[in-house]
Amino acid sequence: MNNRINDFAFKIATANGTGSASANGLIMQAIFRMGVPVTGKNVFPSNIQGLPTWYEIRVNKDGYTARTPHFDLMLALNAATYAKDVAEVRSGGYLMFDSSWPLDEKLKRPDVTYLGVPLAEMCNAAFKGVRERILMKNIAYAGALAALIGMDTEIIAALTKEKYAAKKALLDSNEKAIALGYEYAVANFPCPLPIHLETMDATKDSILIDGNTAAALGAVYAGATVGAWYPITPATSVMEAFKSFCMKYRRDPETKQKKFAILQAEDELAALGMVVGASWAGARAFTPTAGPGISLMNEFIGLAYYAEIPAVIVDVQRTGPSTGMPTRTQQGDLMLCAYASHGDTRHICLYPSDPGEAFEMAAKAFDLAERFQTPVFLVSDLDIGMNDWMVPKLTWDDSYQPDRGKVLSAGDLEKAKNFYRYLDVDGDGIPQRSLPGVHPKGAYFTRGSGHNKFGAYTEDSDEYQEVLDRINRKVQGAARAVPAPFMKATPGATMGLVTVGGCHAACIEAMDVLAREGIKLNYMRVRGFPFGDEVRQFLDQHEVNFVVEQNRDAQLRSLMMLDLGTHIEKLESVRYYAGFPMSAHHVISGVKAKLEKAA
């Protein structure tokens, strides 16, 4: 194999709950601190201990961050998955295994170089106690890997010291384990391998962060004070992060009392009910959940839509239908979020493509929810939410003021002749709102039953329809307020490549590959729903648009047909929905297949 510097991928196969997450985090961070662009994908089971788990790391000097399924090096450290792991190594690649036990001859491939490291043997000799031996075995593989791919040992040492600054005993064990692996590899293999790292300067303005942490931070910065939730994979860490940021930033300096409330509800129905109640009373409130939670929340989503109450819902999508695969990713809730609940509804959706956008859009969601007095979905997914992404450092504009929408103060109400909750006073479809407890003139009856523009109960056809039509105008108006699509033009292109969310990285990489093969594409990634004029124009301008997404039923394509009336013949669907993040090759082969079929 020729030297491939800063352009390779490797995969680490271990068992869940054995401390491998620490080792994998250390490896990611060390590569990142070497200034080399890096992406990590955690492929984990719905389990606490024992089931197989993998961590995939891609190193790419050009900054391509999409998942690649082609692995140059496999760290096959879980006997339970040897056969599968051996099969996944690229021809000409390497496989590191624990040579404390002999490897089954049947698992050997002639086109793969095997690197045996006696991890268990070394750790059994060096450490005491079953638990420590298991944990340190996983740190030792990081040491061996460091030698094999040329990681900077000083950076590793610094990271270990930072991490275990307060735990001297752990620091000693970790340093010892890393040295064991490192020294064994140096002594026994030609280190580094042809696939290896060299220091770059491509990460100094970036961070490694997951989208759930970033979304939680967005909620903190937007001034959310009430978070209600029911724990669910893969959304749980949103609230955990929100809590830890609030404990840091949102306590009274003297009394330590909290300027936030986190309500762990009995189920997702109640979680959204609490958000609706808190928003009704004037707080910025949100709930993080996943598809099964959205299914349960449908009832309250409809109420919030019809009674016009703000609500921010973070949907970290996982595979469906039903329980599906809770620890795998998908974009299966696009339709659900856009039209959730019975009757005629349509909801504002924001589609982040990475943690950086998850931060910005989480904050934006609160402004839109209060401006338009309606539920807003931040449609993230497991890949964005739970994996560490390299994104530019987050920044915040200190001149930001929250858009609380048309909320009347006690003074406004005192001066007002009349207040009618659902009257379109400004002609933009957005009525005025009052909060409970503020002023007697603000009182009205919030209800999910038929009501007229004055807020009174009605069973009158015209009165009912007038309100329903105004709400439709109001939500349509949000098309101009949601983030504009991301566009990238290619000179001479007549075909469009269209996508949403986390498929972005795969599409950008695929476009470059396809361009080298003479297939030119203009690119559009939608960032908000309802779709605006720019989305319509892009689709209209291209004779064909390849719509790339991660679900079986081409939901993004359906949304475009429903919302914009785009003809199906203009929309060629390219899909991958088996649970892993989208790779460039899915896009490339999908586009090519469509072109061959058309030719």
Partner: protein, 351 residues
């Protein structure tokens, strides 16, 4: 339904309360429930209780779920914000509203279908949370709006209007609340305003979840001979175990009862509930004894009424969460947003 507004012109001689409001100022729209419905009597008791306490109506949030009982917040306190939410989910909405604005005085009105069937889970968790609100369960043993199906509080053997007998066990909401650790449990009867008004007042003063089950006969579907939730049955079988008087904070407690027969419990806001013990040795601060007492009478076909249990040391959601005094909803953004400098410092954690 609730579109018929009552005239707001009052007779000049109507008595005014401490804040200059008459009882009429605490009314709402004209009821659309059946003539003689127990719920309307409860509405009248609510109006009297709030008026007597001189609570400014706009400081109140009145919430409900779905059903006949849940319509009633439209019939009182027209200057209070109302929220007719979804079926069985009022406790969640109330929890959120309370988190946002702990100063709101919250009253929830629900029924036996709303609370004990579709919303049983939400009720249980609101009790566990000890949400600071007055929760009235207007209990008639029957689904009224859908015309006469048994509810979960219908007693075994009691019959529907057409004679069919209920086979299933009843959920007794007072026993349920006691089991779940409720800090204030009462049971009353819509036909006993003298008992109900002080219970409502004590419930409003209670810091935590004040649960009041009120037998409230359905005149249309469940006021017949086979019913155990009829006016006649309730009048014959109710046993007032303890009479509670409510004494607002400013007033002194007069000792007009015999030594040993009165127990005073101080509420969070400095008011008192004075228990006149009608049953021998009844202690309204003893949860287990209250439970046993209700069960003993239940076996005899009797319905125990009164303020059955109150916990003197009740901690509501805000106490448990240790939130800042006042409300969260109107904290200035500057106090909520850490700013860019803090963000840039934080970014080092992600390098």
């Amino acid at each position: 339904m609730t579109y018929i507004a009552k005239p707001k012109v009052h007779h000049p001689s109507l008595k005014k309360n401490e804040i200059g409001l008459t009882r009429r100022d605490y009314e709402g729209a004209i009821t659309t429930l059946c003539a003689g419905c127990g719920h309307d009597s409860i509405t009248a008791a609510i109006i009297q209780a709030f008026w007597e306490l001189s609570i400014p109506p706009h400081k109140v949030a009145k919430l409900s779920g779905i059903g006949c009982s849940s319509k009633t917040p439209a019939y009182f306190l027209r200057e209070a914000h109302g929220f007719n939410s979804v079926h069985g989910r009022m406790p969640a909405v109330a929890t959120g509203a309370n988190a946002a604005n702990g100063d709101l005085i919250m009253i929830g009105v629900s029924g036996d279908g709303d609370s004990l069937s579709i919303g049983l889970g939400q009720l249980c968790h609101a009790i566990r949370r000890n949400l600071n609100m007055l929760y009235l369960l207007e209990n008639n043993g029957v689904y009224g709006l859908t015309k006469g199906q048994f509810s979960a509080s219908a007693d075994p053997g009691s019959t529907a209007k057409k004679g069919e007998a209920n086979q299933m066990q009843a959920i007794d909401s007072a026993l349920l609340a006691l089991t779940l650790g409720a800090t204030f449990v009462a049971r009353s009867f819509s036909g006993d305003k003298a008992q109900l008004v002080p219970i409502i007042q004590a419930g409003l003063a209670h810091r935590g979840f004040a649960f009041v089950d009120i037998i409230s006969p359905c005149v249309t579907f469940n006021d017949h001979d086979g019913s155990t939730k009829s006016y006649a049955y309730t009048r014959e079988h109710k046993v007032e175990v303890v009479q509670a008087d409510f004494v607002p904070p400013a007033e002194e407690i007069s000792a007009e009862y015999q030594e040993g027969s009165v127990k005073n419990v101080m509420m969070h806001d400095g008011s008192w509930v004075k228990f006149r013990k009608l049953a021998k040795d009844y202690d309204p601060t003893n949860r287990d004894a209250a439970y046993a007492h209700i069960r003993d009478h239940q076996k005899k076909g009797e319905v125990v009424t009164g303020l059955l249990y109150v916990s003197p040391d009740s901690k509501d959601v805000h106490d448990q969460n240790d939130t800042v005094p006042g409300s969260l909803y109107n904290l200035p953004h500057a106090q909520l947003c850490p700013g860019n400098d803090a963000l840039q410092k934080l970014m080092w954690q992600f390098r």
